[in-house]
Symmetry: C2
Subunit: 438 residues, 2 copies
C-alpha cells in the first residue's frame, strides 16, 4: 500500500502542549503496551505498519515539521516537503509526484491519502488496504472512505451514496448540515467524509498537469510558491463524475480539543500529579519535572508544559483558541531531527537553553552574526568543530564561540549541553549554515 | 517601641509558594501603592515603621530564615537567631536577652511580642504602642492584646476579662471552645488571643533566670540546644497572677490558607494569566514567566511557581497539607542575603542554576568536595576569587572551578550567572566556608 499522510499546520487548540512548532499530532499522550507514550503520528504510523509491513508511507507536510517527524518516526519514513502552504491540491499533487519519482511507485499503482491524526482502531487501516485495492481496479477516478455516523454532527461533511452496499457510487456531497438535516441523513445511510480517499497515481498526476504547467517533481517543487491555493475538493472531487465510496463502521474519533483528547486518554494522569479524592473526571498532563496538586476539581483538564499552564473546564476547553492566539511567546521546547532543546532562562541580553543531541546525530555547521555562545557539556561524549578545529568533548568541558565563528557538535553517546547565548539580538533567524567540509 | 516579631517555621499550607525554605510570611503577594508587591513580613515591618519610625524591631527566628529576612528587610533589622527550635519561651527569653545586650535596651523598658504575619490595618500597630505604654506602667507582669471576635470561631484561644473596659485584668483563659461555648463567650465580651503581649524587659529576663541556668545572652545562645521545649504560656502566662488585657477592635486576619490569603488579595491575578469571562471568583498567582490560561473556573485558586502547580477549589485548599507533605522535592528557588537562586535543570550528575547577586553583595568564600562548577556570567560586573586569585568578570566570561578549589564572587552591579554544577553527589550540604583573607 502506498499512503500519503497529510500532516497539517500548527494548532493552538491543545495549547500549552501544541504551539507554533509542535502541532497536536506530535504530542506524546497515548500509552503503549510497553508503558511508553506515543504521539498521534507515531500511533498511526505503527498501526499502518501493523496491517501492512511493506506500506510505503509518505508524510506531506511543511518544512517546519520535518525535524520532528524524523525525530518521532526515524529516517526511513518518506517526507514530501511543501516549500510553503498552498492548500490540499498542490500538496497532494506534489506528494504524488514525489511518490512516482523519488519512491519509484508505478503510475498505475493505487495511492491512499489520509489525515495524519485520526484516532482509530486497526480495522480502519484494514479498510484503507481495501480502499487501495478498490482504487487499483480503476472502476472510478476516486474511491472515498465513508464513515458510518455515530450521532447527528453539524461539523462534518456528509457523503450521500447511491446505495447501502459496501462499495457504492457517490450520489452527492453535503457540507455541515443543521441538526435536523443531519438526523435525516443518518436515517438514509449517509456517511461522514473523513478526508480519506484513494486513486491510481496517474489519475492525480494527470489532473495536476491539466491545472499546472510543470515537467516533473523537481520542477513542481521549484515553482511551488507560484501555485494557486486550491483545495483537492475544488480541483478534483467536484469535477469527477465517477466517484465511489467504501463504508467504514469502526471507531473513528477526531481529537481536536482537550475535551475529546482527554476522552481518549487511558488514564487520568500523565506525569507528576496528585489528585485528592474529591476530584472527579479530572485529566492532568504534566510535562514538567515539578508536581501538580489538584484539590476538589470536577470535569477539568490541567495541562502543564514549558510553554505555560492551562486549567479549564472540559466543555470550556473548546473555546481556548482566541485566548491563546493572543499570547505572544518564545518557543520553550522543540524536537529537532538531531534531538531536542528546551529554553531554561530568558534575559534581555541572554538566553540559556538545554540541548539534547541523540547518539550518532549532529547539528548543522552554522554561525550567528549577533550572538556569542558558550557550551557547557553536562553529560555524554561527542565532537565539537569550531572554525574547522575539531576537539572531543565530555561532561565538564566548556567551549566558547564568538559571534561569526562556525560551529557544530556531534554526539558519540547521547550528549547534553547547557548553551548560554549572549547578545543584543537573540533570534532563531540569526543563523547561517555551512557545509562542514567547505 | 521595642518589638519582637516571632517568625515561625516552614509551612506547606501555601505550597507551591511556601516550602521548606520559604515560609508563608515571605511570599510577595500584597500590592503596594507603587504597584510593587510585598510579603507579609515586609508589610508588617512597613506598618510598624509607619506608626513608630524609631521602633526597635527584632525578628526572632531560625537560622534558615536569616538570609531571606535580610533580603526582604535590609541589614538594619535586628535578628535574634535561635540555634535550633526550642518552643516559644526559650525563643522569647533569647530575643529579650538580645534586646538588652545587643540592642542596649534598658531592662525597665517595655517590650512587645507579636507574630510576624497578622493581616491587619495600621490601628493594630497603634494599639501595640498603647500596649507598650501600658506595660511600661508596671501595673501587671504582662499586658495582652485581646481581639474583639467577629464570629464564633472554634480554632482560637479566648481571653475572659474581668470587665469590658479598654484595659481590664484577665479573669481566665479558654482554649478552642466548641461553637456553642464560643457563641456564649462573644455575648460576654470575651476576646480572641492573637498571641500579642507586652512586658517590661526585666520581667521576662527574671523568669528566664528562674527557669534556666545562664549568665548572659552569649551564654544562653551557646547552651540553647540543651534548653527544655517549653511554651511561653506554660512557663509564664499560667503562673502569672497579674495579667491585663487591652481591647483591639480593628481588622485582624490570619492568612494561613489559600482560601483566606486570596480573600486578602486586592486583585484576582498576580503574574501572567488570562481568564475567560466564564471564570468566577478565581485567584491566580503565577511566579513563572510563562502564561496561565483559565477557562470556565469557579471558586478556585491556581498557584504556579518553580516548585510546582496547585489547582484547587478554594474551600478544599485548606486540606492541602497531607498531600504536599508527601512531595519530596528539590528546592527550586530561594532568597539569600546576597540575592537569589533558581534551579533551571536537574540531571543525574549535574544541576544548572541561575544566580542573581545584588549589587555590592558577595557569596561566602567556599569550596565543594564532590562537585566541579562552571560560572557563565550573563549580565552585570563583578569580581571573582578562585584559590586566592582575583579577576574582574562581565557578561560572556566563563570561570571553571574544580572540586576542592575555593571560590567566591562579588557583584559591582547586579550580577547574573548561570552556574553549572557537575559531580556524582550534588548536595547543598557539600560546602566548606573559609575566611577570604586567610
Amino acid at each position: 500500500m502506498n499512503i500519503i499522510l497529510l500532516s497539517g499546520g500548527s494548532g493552538k487548540r491543545l495549547w500549552p502542549l501544541s504551539n507554533d512548532v509542535r502541532s497536536k499530532q506530535f504530542i506524546k499522550i497515548f500509552k503503549k503496551e510497553d508503558g511508553e507514550y506515543e504521539s498521534m503520528v507515531q500511533r498511526v504510523y505503527r498501526q499502518i505498519k501493523a496491517v501492512d509491513t511493506d506500506a510505503v508511507v509518505t508524510i506531506a507536510t511543511s518544512r517546519s515539521q520535518v525535524s520532528t517527524i524524523h525525530n518521532q518516526l526515524g529516517e526511513d519514513v518518506g517526507v514530501s516537503v511543501e516549500p510553503c502552504r498552498r492548500d490540499t491540491f498542490p500538496a497532494i499533487a506534489l506528494a504524488t509526484a514525489y511518490l512516482k519519482e523519488v519512491r519509484g511507485v508505478d503510475e498505475n499503482e493505487p495511492v491512499v491519502v489520509c489525515p495524519v491524526d485520526p484516532y482509530v482502531d486497526d480495522s480502519y487501516f484494514e479498510t484503507l488496504k481495501k480502499l487501495s485495492v478498490q482504487a487499483g481496479k480503476g472502476e472510478a477516478g476516486l474511491v472515498l472512505m465513508g464513515i458510518e455516523p455515530t450521532y447527528p454532527s453539524e461539523k462534518y461533511g456528509y457523503i450521500i451514496p447511491e446505495n447501502k452496499d459496501a462499495v457504492s457510487p457517490v450520489k452527492t456531497f453535503k457540507e455541515k448540515p443543521d441538526m435536523e438535516t443531519a438526523r435525516k441523513y443518518i436515517a438514509l445511510g449517509t456517511l461522514w467524509n473523513g478526508g480519506v480517499f484513494a486513486y491510481r497515481l496517474k489519475y492525480v498526476l494527470d489532473r495536476a498537469h491539466e491545472l499546472i504547467d510543470f515537467t516533473d517533481y523537481a520542477d513542481l517543487f521549484a515553482r511551488y510558491d507560484t501555485l494557486p491555493k486550491i483545495s483537492f475538493d475544488y480541483a478534483v472531487v467536484e469535477k469527477e463524475p465517477a466517484i465511489q465510496v467504501m463504508r467504514y463502521c469502526g471507531e473513528w474519533k477526531d481529537l481536536g480539543t482537550w475535551n475529546t483528547l482527554t476522552e481518549a486518554m487511558t488514564e487520568p494522569v500523565i506525569g507528576d500529579a496528585v489528585l485528592n479524592d474529591v476530584c472527579e473526571n479530572v485529566s492532568v498532563i504534566n510535562e514538567l519535572n515539578v508536581p501538580v496538586v489538584c484539590m476538589g476539581l470536577k470535569d477539568m483538564v490541567v495541562s502543564v508544559s514549558a510553554e505555560g499552564v492551562l486549567v479549564s473546564d472540559k466543555e470550556q476547553s473548546s473555546y481556548i483558541k482566541p485566548y491563546v492566539d493572543k499570547i505572544e511567546q518564545q518557543i520553550m521546547f522543540a524536537e529537532k531531527s538531531w534531538g531536542s532543546f528546551r529554553v531554561l532562562d530568558v534575559e534581555e541580553d541572554s538566553m540559556t537553553i538545554k540541548v539534547t543531541l541523540n547518539a550518532g546525530h549532529r547539528m548543522n555547521y552554522h554561525s550567528h552574526l549577533h550572538r556569542d555562545e558558550i557550551w557547557n557539556v553536562i553529560s555524554g561524549e561527542g565532537t565539537v568543530v569550531v572554525d574547522g578545529m575539531e576537539q572531543n568533548v565530555k561532561a565538564g568541558d566548556v567551549v566558547t564561540m564568538q559571534a561569526g565563528c562556525r560551529h557544530t557538535v556531534s554526539a558519540v553517546t547521547e550528549l547534553k549541553l547547557i548553551e548560554v547565548q549572549l547578545g543584543k539580538e537573540i533570534s532563531v533567524h540569526d543563523k547561517q549554515k555551512f557545509e562542514l567540509d567547505a
